[in-house]
């Protein structure tokens, strides 16, 4: 589905991703863990095309899509749930969803998204900036689904959410996985990340420092402590 090989991304002079290689297979959830400032969001930005990598290759569904503009990525079947949600504040909930609709008809339609997130249906005519944080997160996920993606990039979807909502997001992700969607998930909430993931990578200082299955990581206190924990 997605193959990244030897990505190098810079912000100005700052070398953020330092030769990163990973892949996501169809129907799989791959989770990226890591502390702040380690390059997780940059990775997402590099894949979708906001901050194209300076070196390396992004392959998606067999095509080399390195340095494609983001909207072509989306047309090609990739969708992003960005960090900080970034819903369009002056658009209504319905409009936020509508603008993301791709012309081809697929399985994700407005009614289905509203079925998945009934709360959004209730607030369809409200402007997005009037929503609560949790609702905005639902909207960001719904908006990504509207393009009927094959691969979903999710950047910290539980950030700043109350525990109840975190569980809700977890349920949604699990549901999407059952639908056969491939997901690349960046997450700091360890329980959630491990509960849905097929494979886990830990990112530290622009490089992958650990790769394993979720159960193995759960058991590996050293790695957890070193890269994630307080102690």
């Amino acid at each position: 589905m997605l193959e990244l090989s030897d990505l190098h991304t810079y912000y100005g002079e700052s070398h953020v991703l330092q030769g990163l290689t990973l892949s996501v297979r169809p129907g799989e959830i791959v989770t990226i863990l890591g502390r702040n400032g380690m390059g997780k969001t940059t990775l997402m930005r590099s894949i979708i095309g906001f901050t194209p990598p300076r070196r390396g290759r992004v392959c998606f569904k067999g095509d080399d899509v390195t340095r494609w503009p983001p909207f072509r990525m989306v047309e090609h079947g990739m969708a992003l749930v960005p960090q900080g949600r970034r819903v369009f504040a002056s658009l209504t909930v319905r409009e936020n969803l509508e603008v993301a609709r791709q012309s081809r008809t697929g399985q994700w339609t407005l009614p289905r998204v509203l079925e998945l997130f009934p709360r959004l249906g209730d607030r369809a005519t409200n402007r997005a900036n009037k929503l609560s944080g949790g609702e905005q997160q639902m909207l960001a996920i719904g908006r990504a689904l509207m393009s009927d993606p094959d691969l979903l990039l999710m950047d910290e979807p539980t950030e700043g959410l109350a525990p109840l909502l975190v569980r809700e997001v977890g349920r949604v992700i699990a549901g999407l996985k059952r639908e056969g969607l491939s997901i690349l998930l960046v997450e700091q909430n360890l329980p959630l990340a491990l509960s849905v993931a097929d494979r886990v990578h830990i990112l530290s200082r622009g490089q992958i420092v650990h790769s394993s299955g979720p159960a193995e990581l759960m058991a590996n206190e050293t790695v957890k402590a070193r890269y994630l924990g307080v102690a």
Binding site: F50, A79, P82, L91, A100, S147
Partner: protein
């Protein structure tokens, strides 16, 4: 000051404001989506008038002039955006300076093509009359301008507020990068908005050509007005452009009628006041 004075002057102000709306709404839209301060916008107004004039001469049709003026200038706008301004994406100052270069070139090209003589665009008979209401007399053409501006304003509002394309434009205004990230072709949207803005200015130019005339220098004469409207109303806001146009039209008109000695002061001073209280204009967002 009789009631008649107030009614007629209000009407004058409204109709002038209506013309300003055609000019300023495009400027405001372009700024909203692309953050470009387009100093060539007055040139679109002037060139639109000239193209309209040529078309009326050839075909005798005012409608054809409106269409041709808008289309021709939209094409010029597309060329400017696609070939030049896009290369400076994000560089406010560079883009401002570049539009000045274009304004100078357009000024000279117009002189080269149409000569320096002033003209008025001949109007169809239907628009030439006067509507009387008691002792009051309203020129049909000024009513026509108000009607056109109202229609254009309504159409813009419907498109922006009620259609998917409009939502895409507003999404690009809100968060340009994320708009691309949900699959919106932002460069195409930008180009379209730029073309639309240029076309609206040109439409204003053709309509203005019917009573203000078409002449060299019209570009820099109307430009400050367009800017005042946009500054007062708030950059990038359609309701702002509407309210701003009417406000400026009325202020300008009453300023000239009541305090001719300070007529520009009466226009610019309230504007400075508005800015002092609301730096982003009446409807602007920071």
């Amino acid at each position: 000051m009789t009631a008649e004075f107030w009614i007629i002057q209000t009407f004058n102000g409204l109709s002038y404001g209506a013309l300003l709306f055609l000019l300023a709404s495009g400027l405001s839209l372009i700024f909203g989506v692309m953050r470009i301060v387009n100093l060539a916008h007055g040139s679109y107004f002037m060139l639109g008038g000239y193209v309209g004039l040529s078309v009326v001469w050839r075909t005798g049709s005012f409608t054809a002039a409106l269409v041709a003026g808008a289309v021709a200038i939209a094409l010029i706008g597309i060329g400017m955006e696609r070939l030049f301004l896009r290369r400076l994406s994000g560089q406010t100052l560079g883009q401002v300076l570049m539009t000045i270069g274009f304004a100078l070139m357009f000024q000279d090209l117009a002189l080269l093509i149409w000569g320096g003589d002033p003209y008025t665009i001949p109007l169809p008979a239907a628009l030439q009359g006067i509507v009387t209401a008691g002792a009051l007399r309203f020129p049909t053409y000024r009513i026509f301008i108000i009607v056109v501006a109202t229609l254009v304003g309504a159409a813009l509002w419907i498109v922006l507020d009620r259609t998917r394309v409009g939502a895409m434009i507003r999404a690009a205004v809100d968060d340009r990068e994320m708009a691309q990230g949900v699959g919106i072709h932002v460069p195409v949207v930008s180009l379209g908005v730029f073309a639309l803005g240029a076309a609206l200015a040109a439409l204003g130019g053709v309509i203005g050509g019917g009573f203000l005339g078409v002449y060299p220098g019209a570009d820099f004469e109307v430009l400050p007005y367009a800017f005042v409207v946009v500054i007062v109303g708030g950059l990038g806001s359609l309701p702002g452009a509407m309210v701003g146009s009417l406000l400026v039209g009325l202020l300008d008109n009453f300023g000239k009628a009541l305090f001719p000695e300070l007529s520009y002061f009466t226009l610019f001073a309230p504007m400075a006041l508005i800015l002092a209280l609301r730096p982003t204009g009446l409807f602007g967002r920071a």
